[in-house]
Amino acid sequence: MHMADALISPAVGGTLWAATAGLIGYSSRKVKQDMDDRRIPLMGVLGAFIFAAQMINFTIPGTGSSGHLGGGLILAILLGPAAAFLTLASVLTVQALFFADGGLLSLGCNVFNLGFFPCFVAYPLVYKQIVQDKISQRRIVIGAVLSAVLGLQLGALGVVFETFFSRISDLPFATFLLLMQPIHLAIGIVEGLVTAAVVVFVWKARPETLDITLASKPAGTPSFRKVLAGLLIAAAVTGGFISWFASTHPDGLEWSLSRSTAKEELAPPKKGLHGWLATLQEKTAFLPDYGFRGSKKEETSGDAWPAVDPGTSLSGLLGGSLTLITLVLIGVLLKRRKRHHAQH
């Protein structure tokens, strides 16, 4: 799931961009050091592959809905963590620039959520460990599913944190978490299975393509096993604990929206839903200090900019509508004039 500029604050966006920029720098250095200049065209072409493959949809058995490939894990398996991260970052950049996928500030978050976790966490800690010593179809499937679930759970967690700390959306932390995690558990399983399907195909047809990354050993194995165990437990708790939520609707947010509201009708039944959400929040009592039911003064931006007080917003409304109308009129008139001139 992609973050969007509309829901992010500069502080959060900036922080994540700093992290992503650092990772891009690190990965670029690693790829350069690698000295295998076969990788340069390979990364480009594989990026295009992922982009194209994401557009081939498939139906998920047992439901009517369709799914898509994410790609971070496959890239990591074929290229290794650093190169895969760069490739995925480039795909997301093109999507942000051409398809309005989120925006440029949240690109940093998206690259981090969708790139860092599968490439630098899930792949080395889970997939590699499982497939390293003995490669077999079963191991590929298990490794892929577990890695995909882990990567996606962490990524979804990232989205929740980023949205929460930006304070633009009113969604309470716990509710959002409860919505995102189970859905992404399901998506993760599907992603893992599909990734496994492709990897098994390649492995059977041309096993030597998978040698690229399995050759290098991860550093300091014992402590990684502990981290692995901890992460798996965490993922299992967040995802599995509420697994009765899980269905195989891959576009999880749409599904949760239709379940928890009456879709487009946001009229009267609000009261009941509103009450339900409030009680849910009280019950889970996650980080009670960040209550969204506090005064609006708390909610508006707490940063150094002079805060615009919504209290006197009637004048704002008046002035704003006027400005909007004026700008649009100017724009339309200018465009008309340009076209008029161009025709003569």
Partner: protein, 270 residues
């Protein structure tokens, strides 16, 4: 996810638009990238209930659209196609934040609705800014700007290669999808296993192609360094463009111009 065929045309269309020759298109790409970034940061930094103060920011996209001769309807459509996600999350605000913030006559508008519209406005502007950036600058120019601004060369080369082969691969993938569609009925034949072998085949062919490209590079003396970059020269007045707009953004961020205007009008009325 957009359909395969439309992607092809979309990228091609944006590419074509970016090759127009207007004042805006001729600006140094770094200037455009930086101005866009300042714009986005300012827009995004508003509090969640700000709407009126956001509106004047529209002047920048408007400026670019008019002077750059960009197709408004096309760009708006793209923005709307991507809107669902923001709406999905944003729609919770009116549900959760019920405190009335604003009274217009007998109607009370809750903070939740205010922030929801703020989200929508933000979304349109930030995402629109990104699209307009590509439409007025072109992908290659943006990549060159990034390289000059310090982005690692390995990553920029990756961006260029990806773009180059996007068309080839999307074309191959769309042919596969068509072939599958002609031989699958009532949902049979389009499951995960079929996807696995389709994607697997495409992947193997892709890797072969990568090898051939590598060979082609070697044959022309490739030694690990790519030297494609044309020199960029930003003239003095172009820097003024950046500084001028940035100053305007900061001013509009610090003072709520529409509210000021509105107060004036209210003053006249009463």
């Amino acid at each position: 996810m957009p359909s395969i065929e439309s992607t092809f045309f979309d990228i091609g269309t944006m590419d074509r638009i970016s090759r127009q020759d207007t004042f805006v298109h001729r600006l140094d790409p770094r200037i455009k990238v930086l101005t866009t970034l300042v714009f986005i940061v300012c827009v995004v930094s508003f509090g969640k209930h700000d709407i009126s103060a956001l509106v004047p920011f529209l002047v920048y996209p408007l400026f670019l659209v008019v002077l750059g001769d960009l197709p408004v309807a096309y760009l708006l459509r793209k923005v709307m196609l991507a809107a669902p996600f923001a709406i999905l999350i944003g729609i919770f605000n009116p549900l959760l934040d019920q405190e009335v913030l604003l009274r217009v006559g007998p109607y009370g508008i809750s903070g939740g609705w205010v922030s929801f519209f703020s989200i929508l406005l933000r979304f349109t502007m930030t995402v629109g800014a990104a699209l307009i950036l590509i439409a007025t600058t072109g992908y290659h120019a943006v990549c060159m700007a990034l390289e000059k601004m310090g982005v690692p060369q390995v990553f920029v080369v990756q961006l260029l290669f990806l773009y180059r082969y996007l068309f080839v691969l999307v074309d191959e993938a769309s042919r596969m999808v068509r072939a599958r569609a002609l031989r699958s009925f009532q949902g049979r034949g389009s499951g995960m296993r079929v996807f696995g072998s389709m994607a697997g085949n495409l992947l193997l062919r892709t890797m072969d192609r990568a090898q051939r490209v590598h060979l082609a590079m070697l044959c022309r003396g490739f030694d690990g360094n790519i030297r494609p970059f044309h020199p960029l020269k930003a003239r003095g007045w172009e820097v003024m463009f950046l500084l001028g707009w940035s100053a305007l953004f900061v001013v509009m961020r610090s003072y709520n111009v529409p509210r000021f205007v509105g107060t004036l009008i209210q003053g006249f009325i009463s």
